[in-house]
C-alpha cells in the first residue's frame, strides 16, 4: 500500500499520468470526428509530417524548447494537409496516393533535417529522437502546461462549434443548405486533428500517433448511441490507454512508450468490437445462432404438421429418420429443443423401431401460425 502511494506521488509518474490524460482527452475527442468523417489516415499523414516541423522548431529555437517544437510540428502538419488538399483537388491522383505522398515526403524531409541537426553537433539534440517513438519519462512539468494549453484550445473550439461540427460530420449537404460554411468547418476539423497530433507527439511519437486518433474513437463507437456519448467515451478510452501504456513504460525501463499506449488502445478496441452491447460481434453471433435455431424449429414443426394433414391424422407419428431425410440433416437436436418447449411429444409407432414424434396441441397451433393458416375454429 505504501509502495503504491509512493509510486503515485512520484514526480515522474505524476507527470506521465497527467500527460497521458491530456493526450487521451484531446486525441479521443478529435479522433471521433476523424473516424466518423472517414479521415482516419489523415491523422497518419499529419503525424508523420510533424517530424520536419519538430526539427525546424528545434533549429529556430536553438534548443529543445517544447513550444517552438510543437509550433513547428503544427505548421508542417497543416502544410501537409494543404498538400493533400491541392493534390486531390487539382490533379487526378486519388486520396490514398495524396496521403501517401504527403506522409512519406514530409517524413523524409524530417529525416534529412534530423541528420542535419545531428551533424551540427548541438549537445541538446539527443532529445529529438524521442519524438519518433515517444518517451513518457522525458516529460517535464513545464511540458504539461504546454500540452494542456493546446488541448484546452482544441477542446474549447469543439465546444464552441459543437452544433456545426456535428451537422457537417453527419450531413454536410444539409449543413450547406442551412448556409453553414461547410468547407471552412471541414478545414477547421482537419486543423484540429493536426492539433491533437501535436499534443501526443512527445508521448506516442510521430510514427504511432495516428493510432491514438483512430483507436479510442473506434472503441467508443461500439458503446455509444449519440455523438456526445461517443466523444465522452472516446476521451475516456484515450485516457485509459494513454495512462496504462505510459505507466507500464515507466515501470519497465527500455520499453518504448508509444507502442505500449497503442497496444493498450488496441486492446480496448478488440474488447469493444467483441463485447459491446448491441453492436458487439459476440452478441450478433449469438443472435444469429438463435435465429437459425428458431427457423429450424419452425421448419421441422411445419414438416410434421404437413405429414399429419396429408394423412388426415392430427396425431400422426412422424418417424425421426424420415424427418432427417426430409431436411437433409440431423433433426435430433432440434426435436429435443422443441420437446423442451412442449411443442412435440415423443411417441412410438409399432412395429417400426426408432423414435417417432407427434405435435402437441400447442405445436399444432404454432405450425399453423408459421404456415400462415388460420385455425379451423375461426374459419
Amino acid at each position: 500500500m505504501n509502495g503504491a502511494l509512493a509510486f503515485l506521488s512520484d514526480y515522474t509518474i505524476q507527470n506521465v499520468a497527467f500527460g497521458a490524460a491530456i493526450l487521451g482527452t484531446i486525441s479521443g475527442v478529435l479522433g471521433v470526428f476523424a473516424v466518423l468523417r472517414q479521415q482516419s489516415l489523415l491523422g497518419d499523414a499529419l503525424s508523420h509530417a510533424a517530424l520536419p516541423g519538430i526539427c525546424l522548431g528545434f533549429l529556430l529555437a536553438g534548443s529543445r524548447s517544447l513550444p517552438a517544437i510543437l509550433a513547428g510540428a503544427l505548421l508542417t502538419g497543416i502544410l501537409a494537409a494543404l498538400v493533400i488538399l491541392v493534390l486531390t483537388s487539382r490533379t487526378r491522383l486519388k486520396t490514398d496516393a495524396a496521403i501517401g505522398i504527403s506522409l512519406s515526403v514530409f517524413f523524409a524531409a524530417g529525416v534529412v533535417l534530423l541528420t542535419y541537426i545531428q551533424g551540427t553537433g548541438n549537445a541538446s539534440q539527443g532529445g529529438l529522437d524521442t519524438f519518433l517513438f515517444g518517451q513518457a519519462a522525458a516529460i517535464l512539468r513545464s511540458d504539461l502546461y504546454v500540452m494542456g494549453a493546446i488541448a484546452l484550445v482544441g477542446l474549447g473550439i469543439v465546444a464552441a462549434f459543437w452544433k456545426e461540427f456535428k451537422l457537417v460530420t453527419f450531413d454536410p449537404d444539409f449543413a450547406g443548405s442551412l448556409g453553414m460554411p461547410v468547407r471552412r468547418i471541414e478545414t477547421a476539423l482537419t486543423l484540429l486533428i493536426a492539433l491533437a497530433v501535436v499534443v501526443g507527439l512527445q508521448m506516442v511519437g510521430v510514427v504511432l500517433m495516428a493510432a491514438m486518433v483512430i483507436a479510442p474513437a473506434v472503441a467508443a463507437r461500439q458503446w455509444a448511441r449519440s455523438l456526445g456519448a461517443m466523444v465522452t467515451l472516446s476521451a475516456l478510452a484515450g485516457i485509459v490507454a494513454g495512462a496504462s501504456g505510459a505507466l507500464l513504460s515507466s515501470l519497465a525501463s527500455g520499453l518504448a512508450t508509444g507502442p505500449l499506449i497503442v497496444l493498450a488502445a488496441t486492446l480496448l478496441v478488440i474488447v469493444s468490437l467483441l463485447f459491446a452491447p448491441q453492436r458487439g460481434i459476440l452478441w450478433s453471433v449469438i443472435r444469429r445462432r438463435r435465429a437459425a435455431h428458431h427457423l429450424r424449429g419452425r421448419q421441422v414443426l411445419a414438416t410434421i404438421h404437413d405429414l399429419a394433414s396429408a394423412h388426415h391424422d392430427t396425431s400422426y407419428p412422424a418417424e425421426q429418420s424420415m424427418l432427417d431425410a426430409y431436411h437433409g440433416l440431423g433433426t435430433g437436436a432440434v426435436l429435443s429443443r422443441l420437446e423442451g418447449r412442449g411443442l412435440v411429444r415423443r411417441t412410438t409407432h409399432m412395429p417400426q423401431e426408432g423414435p417417432h414424434w407427434e405435435l402437441t396441441e400447442e405445436g399444432r397451433a404454432q405450425a399453423r401460425e408459421s404456415l400462415g393458416e388460420t385455425p379451423p375454429e375461426s374459419a
Partner: protein, 301 residues
C-alpha cells in the same frame, strides 16, 4: 572494370537506391492506379514484426527466409485489415489505421526486449542506412558484392518478370476488374500476389531505406508518372526513370549537406512530383491554366 565499379562506393549507393526505387515502383504503379497505395504504408510498417519474428525463430536477419516471412506478414496485414472492415463495424480506412500500428508496436516492443544486440534497432527500422550498404558484402565468384545490391537486384528482377509476364492481366484487373473477373483472370489473386511482392520488396529494401522511406519509393514516382502520361507501359518506364534520377540527385545533395542519403532520395521523389505537377504536358497546373485561357479566348468568338 566490374571490380572497379564494385569498389566505387558512391556508385554502389546510388545503384542500390535506384534498384529500391525501380523494384518499388513496379508494384507501386498498380497500387496507385487501384487506389490502394496506403496498403504499402500498412505493409511497410508491419513487416517490422515479421522481420523480428523470423529473426527470433531462425536467427536470419536477411535472405530468402526473411523475404518469405515478409510476404506472409504483408498478406496477414491485408487479411486482418479486411477482417476488421468485414465486421461492418469499422470503415476500411480506420481498419488500416488500427491494424498496422498494432503489429508495428508489437514488433518495436519485441525489438526493445530481445534484440538489443542485433543491428536492427529502432532507427534502422525507420530510416535504414543506405550509406553503409557497401560495408556488408558477399563473395560472388571473384567479386565482393554488397548484400543489399544483390537482394535489391534479385527483387527487382522478380518484380520485373511478374509485371512483364502478367502485364495484360494486371492491366485489365486494374482498369476493369469486373471484366478481368469475368474472363477468369482472378483479379483478387493477382492483387494479393502484387501485395506479397510489395512486402518482399519492402524487406529487401529495409536495410537500405527503412520502413517509412520505402513508402515514398512505392507511391511517389508512380504518382509523378501518372501526372505525365496516360499509357501504362510508359507510366512504368517513367516511374523507373524518376526513381533512378531521384537516387542520383538525392545522393549528390545528401553528400553536399552531409545529411541522410535515403531521406534525401525520398525528398527528391517529392521534388520530381512537384515538377510533374507544375509542368506536366497535359495534367500539369501550367498546361491546365493555358488550356483554360485558350478556351476563354475562343468561346466569345
Amino acid at each position: 572494370m566490374l571490380a572497379a565499379a564494385l569498389e566505387n562506393i558512391p556508385l554502389m549507393i546510388v545503384a542500390t537506391g535506384a534498384l529500391v526505387g525501380i523494384a518499388a515502383a513496379l508494384p507501386g504503379t498498380f497500387l496507385v492506379l487501384r487506389g490502394s497505395s496506403l496498403l504499402s504504408d500498412a505493409i511497410s510498417h508491419s513487416i517490422v514484426l515479421g522481420i523480428v519474428l523470423v529473426w527470433m525463430m531462425s536467427g536470419a536477419q536477411s535472405g530468402p527466409l526473411q523475404l518469405i516471412g515478409a510476404a506472409v506478414t504483408g498478406l496477414a496485414t491485408v487479411f486482418l485489415t479486411e477482417l476488421v472492415a468485414g465486421t461492418g463495424r469499422v470503415k476500411n480506412d480506420a481498419a488500416i489505421g488500427l491494424v498496422f500500428p498494432a503489429l508495428f508496436s508489437i514488433g518495436v516492443l519485441l525489438l526493445n526486449v530481445y534484440a538489443r544486440d542485433v543491428h536492427i534497432d529502432q532507427h534502422t527500422v525507420l530510416l535504414g542506412e543506405i550509406g553503409f550498404v557497401w560495408l556488408d558484402t558477399v563473395a560472388l565468384g571473384a567479386y565482393e558484392v554488397p548484400r543489399s545490391l544483390l537482394s535489391m537486384g534479385a527483387m527487382c528482377a522478380i518484380n520485373l518478370v511478374f509485371v512483364v509476364l502478367l502485364f495484360k492481366e494486371l492491366k485489365l484487373a486494374t482498369f476493369d476488374r469486373a471484366l478481368a473477373a469475368a474472363l477468369g483472370f482472378m483479379p483478387g489473386l493477382l492483387f494479393y500476389a502484387l501485395l506479397a511482392l510489395t512486402s518482399a520488396t519492402a524487406v529487401a529494401a529495409f536495410d537500405a531505406v527503412g520502413a517509412v522511406l520505402f513508402i515514398a519509393f512505392v507511391i511517389v514516382p508512380p504518382s509523378a508518372a501518372y501526372l505525365l502520361t496516360d499509357r501504362l507501359s510508359l507510366m512504368l518506364l517513367l516511374s523507373a526513370a524518376i526513381a533512378t534520377l531521384s537516387s542520383i540527385a538525392g545522393y549528390v545533395v545528401a553528400v553536399l549537406f552531409d545529411v541522410s542519403i535515403g531521406g534525401m532520395m525520398a525528398v527528391m521523389t517529392g521534388l520530381f512530383l512537384l515538377l510533374a505537377f507544375l509542368f506536366g504536358p497535359r495534367y500539369g497546373i501550367i498546361a491546365q491554366a493555358l488550356r483554360r485561357r485558350r478556351a476563354a479566348t475562343v468561346t466569345p468568338a
